[in-house]
């Protein structure tokens, strides 16, 4: 149990390396960044298609940004951070129970890690698609084609990278050969 708790602490440290961006975005979006904020300007410039809000009778994205951020963006990031944290900790905990009972056996579980990571990445895409590509949130219609590419790319950076760092640091010592480059970590770490 002591080793598992240690793994969870390392996992959280790995997650925090990039995960703070997500926390920042969640807090900003929950508290409504305001029409004049940089984040709204950035979204207006890179993600939102002007013709989409003009068709709805608005002159600028700033007029409807509150709905976009406090609902769609807040819910999406919250879901993603909870999912990422859960998946990362889950792997770190489960890695202690993988049946690695002999020298050289950890490599076999590289396949398990790849499948698990594949499911995670796929799920991140699925969650982003659920929030931005479906009719669940009306403000999702504001996102342009290029905006979708931006959101998917940013989600990969903000969630997949911390996941990787989390499992890199948090995987059980004896299971590190199953995680890409984890066996390069110093032995005593």
């Amino acid at each position: 149990m002591k080793n598992i708790i240690q793994s969870i602490i390392y996992t959280l440290a790995g997650l925090a390396s990039f995960g703070w961006i997500s926390i920042y975005l969640i807090i900003r979006s929950f508290s409504d960044p305001g029409p004049d904020s940089n984040i709204v300007a950035f979204f207006d410039d890179k993600i939102i298609a002007a013709e989409n809000y003009e068709n709805l009778g608005f002159e600028s994205f700033a007029e409807i940004s509150t709905n976009f951020f406090t609902e769609l963006f807040f819910h999406m990031n919250l879901t993603l951070i909870i999912f990422t944290t859960t998946m990362t900790i889950a792997w770190s905990v489960v890695s202690h129970y993988l049946n690695i009972d002999a020298p050289g056996k950890a490599k076999i579980y590289a396949l398990h890690w790849l499948v698990f990571s594949g499911i995670f990445v796929g799920s991140v895409f699925g969650i982003v698609w659920y929030f931005t590509g479906t009719t669940m949130y009306s403000t999702a219609d504001l996102i342009g084609t290029g905006g979708h590419v931006w959101i998917y790319s940013m989600s990969l950076i903000i969630y997949v990278l911390p996941y990787y760092l989390g499992v890199l640091l948090g995987t059980a010592r004896f299971a590190r050969s199953s995680v890409l480059f984890a066996n390069k970590l110093p032995g005593g770490f």
């Binding site: 690695i100 009972d101 020298p103 950890a106 010592r173 066996n183």
Partner: protein
């Protein structure tokens, strides 16, 4: 504190075998001198213990070398620093094929003394070749031992003199003697050697700091003597064991009544007797299996040496035997002291032997080109690579001869442990209605009671389902899986004083603890 143990006869040697394994598991004292007494030097039981003793000492000295490979002071693995003489066995009668006639110079005795000897010994006994022991004739053994009572120049007895001198110098000294009460060498040697030691103590005027303990084995086994070709032969007859024991107990009762020879005596018996499948009169073919009651004697000795054991002025006699049911369980094994739990230590050693022999030993055996596939694994990197890396040659030297020797010696020792416990478990109960349930041995070993030279054959390799049975190896409600061992070796902290392969060995040993 200085500790000395003397195993007399075949039974004494066999008890020492149990004691050596117990010391390897951490149940022993910090230091111990070991000696054996047997006229039958080629005896299979004595040879087996002699070989084990030498393996123990070599492996321990290699793994307690502060410069290279060090398990460190705190490690329980091979905790006891065991030493012995160049020849660990003392032969009461030197020379080729000695007979009692020669020992007592019968031919030059005065006629009246000759007559006395004729009353005490029949012609067969006087002419019996004693190179294979005293053949269950303690009257011969006693005469032979008293005739050759040792002096200070004898390497064996010089240790006893040194022990008594150390006690006179203020150091606490404990000497323990183990033997059977029946049979020849043991029955003759136990009282005579003990009394000789006491006599030296008196001569040297040592009144304190010196304690003498002993373990007496009452009959605990028998065997079927073949009817052919035994005419006129002298040998130990199992049907005489009980009468011999009765006589001996009466003798000890008188002896202890009038003279305090021992501070503590541990008496062990067993009923029903274990049945040995093979009978050999003596020599290298007499290779009897380790039996459970001998473990009692060994643990009695360790209890005697334990620092918790406060020895008082009165002579104490402890006795132990089998429980009333026909099942022999871990709970029947007594602890050495409040801090030394026999079950925990022995089961840790057995798990260590298993995991080393089939999992980690093979992984570390061979050249670097074979071993390097593990170089990125945490256990290897942390415990082996880093500690066998040579800064000058910029290479990991695990594949080098000096390290490979340690790895193979440990594997050999681990096999000895597995064979010892398996043989004891099967042989103690074979052909009786008793059942011994200490370990699950059937999945890794085969037992053949009649094959004296190799009763237990352990498998060279195990398949994965057999390896998975590690979690049932020790018959107990709690157990470890190999996964737990792997996890433990990756997380157990390395002691700052440990070096080289001592680190891996100690961590693996500690990882096998529940």
């Amino acid at each position: 504190m200085k500790n000395f143990i003397i195993g007399i006869g075949g039974t004494g040697a066999k008890c020492l075998e149990h004691l050596l394994h117990s010391c390897a598991s951490g149940l022993g004292p910090r230091n111990l001198w070991v000696g054996m007494v047997d006229q039958d030097e080629a005896n299979g039981n004595v040879s087996r213990t002699k070989i084990l003793l030498s393996k123990y000492m070599n492996l321990r000295s290699t793994l307690r070398d502060e410069g290279k490979n060090d398990l460190a002071e705190d490690s329980d693995l091979f905790k006891t620093n065991i030493i012995t003489n160049n020849d660990s066995v003392w032969l009461p009668l030197k020379g080729a094929d000695p007979t009692l006639e020669e020992v007592i110079s019968y031919n030059v005795l005065k006629p009246e003394v000759k007559g006395l000897m004729d009353c005490l010994y029949d012609p067969e006994e006087k002419k019996q070749n004693l190179s294979e022991g005293f053949r269950a004739r303690p009257n011969i053994g006693a005469a032979a031992m008293l005739a050759t009572t040792a002096n200070e120049d004898d390497p064996f007895w010089s240790q006893i003199y040194k022990a008594i001198d150390a006690a006179r110098g203020g150091e606490e000294v404990r000497v323990f003697i183990i033997s059977s009460i029946f049979g020849g060498t043991g029955a003759a040697g136990f009282p005579n050697i003990a009394r000789r030691i006491k006599q030296i103590q008196k001569e040297k005027n040592v009144t304190s700091n010196f304690h003498l303990g002993g373990a007496l084995m009452l009959p605990y086994f028998n065997y079927q003597v073949p009817e052919e070709n035994m005419e006129g032969e002298l040998f130990a007859r199992p049907e005489e064991f009980l009468d011999q024991t009765k006589g001996a107990l009466q003798y000890y009762s008188k002896l202890f009544e009038y003279d305090k020879i021992f501070d503590q005596v541990y008496v062990t018996g067993w009923d029903p007797l274990s049945k040995l499948a093979n009978f050999k009169m003596g020599g290298n073919l007499q290779n009897n299996p380790p039996l459970f009651p001998e473990l009692y004697a060994a643990l009695g000795a360790l209890k005697f040496f334990s620092e918790d054991n406060k020895i008082n002025d009165t002579q104490e006699i402890f006795h132990i035997g089998k429980n009333e049911t026909s099942d022999i369980l871990w709970s029947d094994i007594p602890n050495v002291s409040a801090d030394l739990n026999s079950k925990e230590s022995l089961s840790k050693l057995i798990r260590f032997a298993f995991s080393y022999n089939w999992m980690y030993g093979p992984a570390l055996t061979g050249s670097w080109s074979k071993i390097k596939k593990y170089q990125n694994e945490n256990w290897f990197k942390r415990l082996v690579y880093k500690n066998t890396y040579n800064d000058e040659s910029k290479a990991c030297e695990i594949g080098h001869e000096h390290n490979q020797e340690i790895i193979s010696s440990m594997q050999e020792y681990c096999q000895d442990v597995l064979i010892w416990i398996t043989d004891m478990q099967y042989s103690t109960v074979v052909n009786t209605d008793q059942k011994m349930d200490l370990i699950a041995a059937e999945f890794f070993s085969e037992f053949s009671a009649k094959n004296t030279s190799k009763r237990v054959n352990i498998k060279e390799k195990l398949n994965s389902s057999e390896k998975n049975q590690f979690n049932t190896l020790i018959n107990d409600s709690k157990n470890l899986k190999l996964l737990n061992v792997m996890s433990n070796i990756c997380y157990k902290k390395v002691n700052r004083d440990q070096k080289g392969l001592g680190i891996f060995m100690d961590i693996l040993f500690r990882s096998c603890e529940l």
